[in-house]
């Protein structure tokens, strides 16, 4: 259940959504892709503005944009690739989302180029492999190549690489950073890792129990956390290694206090098109 989630992402901007597990981060990511709205249980209030449409409404408008205008990277790349199809077939279908009439040869050529771009040494061999034959890091690269192959406006990265080890995770973020800078793609990073967020994002939304509680630029938020929940989060950092986020043991009524928006981060005057 989400309440009045409202996200805005400007072109080329990197925005992070931070919260503990179960706070509704992943649900928000899926709502932004229009993936949950057709379920009867889903009750959505609020809006996710992107590409001139409200993705939170679901329906054909967002469905048409999936895979080409908006793409997604998953937590565990190996389980996000189908175990019964080679990478080649799946990559072709990804490219078909961007161009219905693309020929097989053209698709393969572009797939190889995309894999070369993410520094996969032998793209032809990777295409002829199944995901379970490749390492987690390789699959992560394949996933990024797929995500960016159709030059999307927005890339949603749901805890990218948290299922992998720390070095691969760092490589993933570096690669994502470089490529999205190059293509001018906006990124919505879903994470519970404040260290990653601080390094990667321009702007941050903090989510607590299905509600956005604080919203500001990365600098504002880390130097001047105003919401009690954000403060608690930041205070918890030194106690744990690796920059992960602990489950704060106690719910505090304070955490339910209303949304705090930092200066300059209000509703944008013009919707991002």
């Amino acid at each position: 259940m989400l309440h009045g989630i409202s996200l805005h992402i400007q072109p080329g901007e990197k925005v992070a959504l931070v919260g503990e597990s179960g706070s509704g981060k992943s649900v928000t990511a899926r709502l932004a892709m229009g993936l949950l709205q057709d379920q009867k249980r889903a009750h959505v209030s609020g809006s996710i503005w992107f590409d001139g449409i409200d993705a939170a409404k679901g329906g054909p408008e967002i469905a048409r944009r999936r895979g080409n205008r908006v793409a997604m990277i998953f937590q565990d790349p190996t389980s996000a690739l189908n175990p019964t199809f080679k990478i080649r077939g799946q990559f072709r279908d990804v490219l078909r989302s961007g161009d219905r009439s693309i020929s097989k040869n053209e698709a393969d050529r572009r797939a190889e180029a995309a894999l070369a771009e993410v520094s996969i040494p032998d793209p032809k061999r990777a295409l002829d492999s199944y995901a379970f034959q490749l390492s987690g890091g390789m699959n992560q690269r394949v996933m990024i190549a797929m995500a960016l192959a159709n030059r999307p406006q927005l890339l949603i990265a749901d805890e990218p690489g948290t299922a992998l080890d720390v070095t691969v995770q760092a490589q993933t973020l570096k690669l994502m950073h470089e490529l999205t800078e190059k293509t001018g793609t906006s990124v919505l990073l879903i994470s519970h890792n404040l260290g990653v967020v601080r390094e990667f994002a321009d702007r941050v939304y903090v989510i607590y129990r299905g509600r956005i509680v604080e919203h500001g630029t990365t600098a504002q938020l880390f130097h001047d956390p105003r919401h009690p929940y954000t403060r608690a989060l930041l205070a918890a950092i030194p106690k744990i290694s690796g920059g992960g986020l602990p489950d704060l043991p106690e719910r505090s009524p304070e955490f339910e206090s209303p949304l705090i928006v930092h200066e300059g981060c209000g509703e944008p005057t013009e919707a991002f098109a």
């Binding site: 080409n68 998953f74 996000a80 019964t84 199809f85």
Partner: protein, 342 residues
């Protein structure tokens, strides 16, 4: 291909062990049951001399291990003994009746897959909506209704009332029976270039094959549905949706193929159950297969014929399961490639 060959040999070895077990089981059933098998086989009117002669002929006075050894020795020579009912070698009888049964079972197996899988896919694709309810109803009725009940109902409605299909038999009276070589009329007619005969054979096959297929068809649809619903929750299906793959393509490829692997194993069992249920359907439609022979020899306590019939069906069952295992390996790249590395 060598990995597939190796796994084939492995499975054949395992099947051989089970087959030996089956021969022991059947032998045990035939010998341990109360009463003198020779007396039971010859009936109450036989003389004591006849009974004694049969006991000698069948080594019935020897110890059980010796009897089993004799039994296995003749089995190894392809000798299943002699039927007291037809007075012919059991192998000759089975060779005559088995093709009709196998043709029926194969066509049912094809119907089971061709109808059951799409129903399962549609049910999963339209989960909780009208096509799903219809699909679940069909599979429920399929699973819960004995093959002979389907037989009599289909026969009554489509045979007697509407007259769309023949009531019984494999061919119309007057259609010449094809000379061979397979004993499968569909294949024999096609090989002889007899189009009318082929259609006639097909026309006779449809109702019994459908009646026989219903239970497996229902089970197939049910399993496909539940396995696909499970696969739909997997990250790779979410990925396919997130990348805008068409819903139809997800249903028929990306969700279907992973769901097919667990379904296929059960399909083998269902197909094999048809070998048993064929007895029921054959009785309804007067199908000249193993059923009439099997029931007749059982009622007449024709020892060798019963043992032979059961062994042949068990062997067919095992062969089908080996084929299914191999198919699963071919479809599942994880197993195929792992076998290649080993």
């Amino acid at each position: 291909m060598s990995n597939i060959l190796r796994s084939l040999l492995h499975r054949l070895g395992a099947a051989l062990i089970v087959m030996i077990g089956i021969s022991m089981l059947i032998f045990a059933i035939a010998r341990v049951m109360p009463g003198d098998p020779a007396r039971i086989a010859l009936g109450p009117n036989a003389t004591a001399e006849q009974v004694a002669a049969l006991r000698v002929e069948r080594h019935l006075d020897a110890s059980l291990p010796v009897q089993y050894w004799e039994f296995v020795k003749s089995l190894a020579q392809g000798d299943l003994g002699k039927s007291l009912y037809t007075n012919r070698p059991v192998t000759t009888d089975i060779a005559q009746f088995l093709p009709a049964t196998l043709e029926l079972v194969f066509v049912s197996g094809i119907l089971m897959v061709l109808i059951g899988l799409p129903i399962g896919i549609l049910s999963a694709h339209f989960r909780g909506r009208f096509p799903d309810h219809v699909g679940r109803l069909i599979s429920l009725l399929g699973v819960c209704t004995p093959a002979f009940v389907w037989g009599v109902i289909l026969q009554l409605v489509f045979g007697y009332f509407w007259g769309w299909f023949p009531i019984e038999g494999r061919l119309l009276e007057g259609t010449p029976i094809p000379a061979g070589p397979t004993g499968f009329y569909l294949i024999d007619m096609a090989m002889a270039g007899n189009g009318a005969g082929f259609l006639d054979a097909l026309h006779h096959l449809i109702l019994p094959a459908l009646a026989l297929a219903m239970s497996g068809l229902g089970q197939t649809a049910r399993l496909t549905r539940s396995n696909m619903n499970e696969v739909y929750e997997r990250p790779y299906v979410e990925m396919a949706r997130a990348y805008g793959f068409p819903a139809r393509r997800i249903a028929t490829r990306y969700a279907f193929r992973p769901a097919l692997i667990p379904t296929l194993t059960i399909l083998g069992l269902e197909f094999a159950a048809m070998l048993g249920n064929a007895f029921l359907v054959e009785k309804v439609f007067g199908w000249p297969g193993l059923s009439r022979y099997g029931v007749e020899v059982i009622l007449r306590k024709d020892l060798d014929a019963i043992v032979g019939t059961v062994l042949i069906i068990a062997a067919a069952f095992l062969i089908v399961n080996i084929i299914v295992d191999i198919l699963v390996n071919v479809i599942n790249p994880r197993i195929r490639l792992a076998a290649g590395r080993a």
